[in-house]
């Protein structure tokens, strides 16, 4: 049943680009649950702040470095 409902939410026809469809279109486009699991990790976005947090916590740093921020277009 849930699958059917989800499919109905994700399918449009014809002239679908109008305000009454806005929320459903956003749902179609935005990351799905399986695409956001990696965001459960408490990523910092500033190396210096992360270094400060690591020093305070007594933990090492893990840096994920991409050409294009992984939290952005990376």
């Amino acid at each position: 049943m849930n699958v059917i409902l989800l499919a109905a939410l994700l399918v449009f026809s014809g002239d679908e680009v109008k305000t009454e469809n806005l929320d459903r279109l956003k749902t179609l486009i935005k990351p799905r649950a399986e695409e956001t699991k990696w965001e459960e990790i408490p990523w910092r976005v500033d190396l210096w702040e992360a270094r400060r947090d690591a020093a305070k916590a007594g933990k090492p740093l893990l840096l994920w470095e991409m050409d294009g921020n992984p939290m952005g277009c990376g």
């Binding site: 210096w48 270094r51 893990l62």
Partner: protein, 336 residues
């Protein structure tokens, strides 16, 4: 985002990171170029790996990868991008954690390292401009069924699943304030400030399902009909509707243009009048896209294909401080 985040989606990997590390993401384009203490620290870490040296005047080769190191900058372990390989990633993390635990207790204790305040290299540091609105941007490959219905298109690129791509868009303080009329009237048209419109068109209405988005040249904006209309006014709120269509193409004739984007826009925005602030700024663009703007912005799918773009207000979370990709070239982005 390609499936290279797959490894970081693995429950065991997430658990190891949460328990053992302070995780941070970085855009290598800035990091390897910056001349401040952050850049010096980064280079001192990378110089302990096979990527050492060759920094050149402009950052040299890219240093993409996954690095584990101490707050003092001692390398524990590093690997190329294995973000899409949970097993490899897990081994890297376990190796890094083990190397950390082999260090003397005095070196590992909280507060063992003092991290001073530093000033940032303004050439390669991109804080959100004062008072600017941050929009979160997403884009996804779509497909149409035989009856024209639109649905998500799940496909792979170089064997990695292509997920919804992300970016951020800035609306400067003077731009969003110009959208709030002193005496709003239902039906009134509100003109979008020209820099805001050009910024959205040139830097954000760009198909970049894989790779890094390019930017349209001003003359490649072939048509832009965007109308922001006051749809409702009460004592507490102003509600707007955005409608329009856009055509962006590398050559004047979209039928033969090497690269293009043609689509329709819709949106809803609301203002809290007491606060003088936007509380909703939702925009969707559904466009047919083809070609690629530059070598970093690969052709994700052959032919002309629908792509959906969605924008919404950020929440002020840390992720909203990640700058727009287009802001690498700051002044052209702010004044396109």
């Amino acid at each position: 985002v390609l499936g290279r985040a797959l490894g970081f989606s693995d429950p065991e990997v997430i658990k190891i990171i949460k328990e053992n590390f302070i995780p941070v993401v970085g855009d290598d384009w800035y990091q390897r170029r910056r001349k401040d203490d952050v850049g010096k620290f980064f280079r001192s870490v990378v110089d302990q790996t096979w990527k050492a040296g060759k920094w050149g005047n402009n950052g040299g080769d890219n240093r993409q990868g996954i690095y584990c190191f101490t707050p003092s900058g001692r390398m524990l372990t590093e690997m190329k991008n294995v973000g899409n390989l949970p097993g490899e990633l897990k081994r890297l993390l376990q190796s890094g954690a083990a190397a950390w635990n082999r260090l003397p207790a005095e070196e590992r204790r909280p507060g063992a390292v003092t991290v001073a305040d530093v000033s940032f290299d303004p050439g390669f540091h991109r804080p959100v401009p004062a008072g600017a609105l941050v929009l979160r941007q997403y884009q996804r490959g779509l497909k149409r069924g035989p009856d024209g219905t639109l649905a998500a298109h799940d496909f792979s690129f170089k064997e990695a699943p292509v997920w919804a791509q992300r970016d951020r868009a800035w609306i400067l303080a003077d731009e969003w304030k110009a959208l709030i009329p002193a005496t709003p009237a239902v039906g009134a048209q509100v003109e979008l400030p020209a820099p805001l419109k050009r910024r959205l068109l040139r830097y954000h209405f760009v198909e970049a399902l894989v790779g890094e988005p390019g930017a349209w040249q001003p003359e490649q904006i072939r048509s832009d009909k965007l109308a922001l209309t006051v749809e409702g006014v009460s004592d507490s709120t102003i509600r707007y509707r955005l409608d329009g269509s856009v055509l962006l193409a590398t050559e004047p004739d979209p039928a033969t243009a090497r690269c293009g984007l043609q689509g329709k826009v819709t949106g809803i925005a609301t203002v809290d009048r007491a606060k003088g602030a936007f509380t909703r700024f939702d925009v969707v663009l559904i466009a047919e896209c083809w070609g690629a703007l530059n070598q970093h912005n690969a052709v994700s799918r052959e032919g002309r294909n629908p792509v959906g773009f969605a924008f919404e207000l950020g929440t002020g979370a840390a992720v909203d401080s990640v700058p727009p990709q287009g802001a690498r070239m700051l002044q052209p982005y702010l004044q396109p």
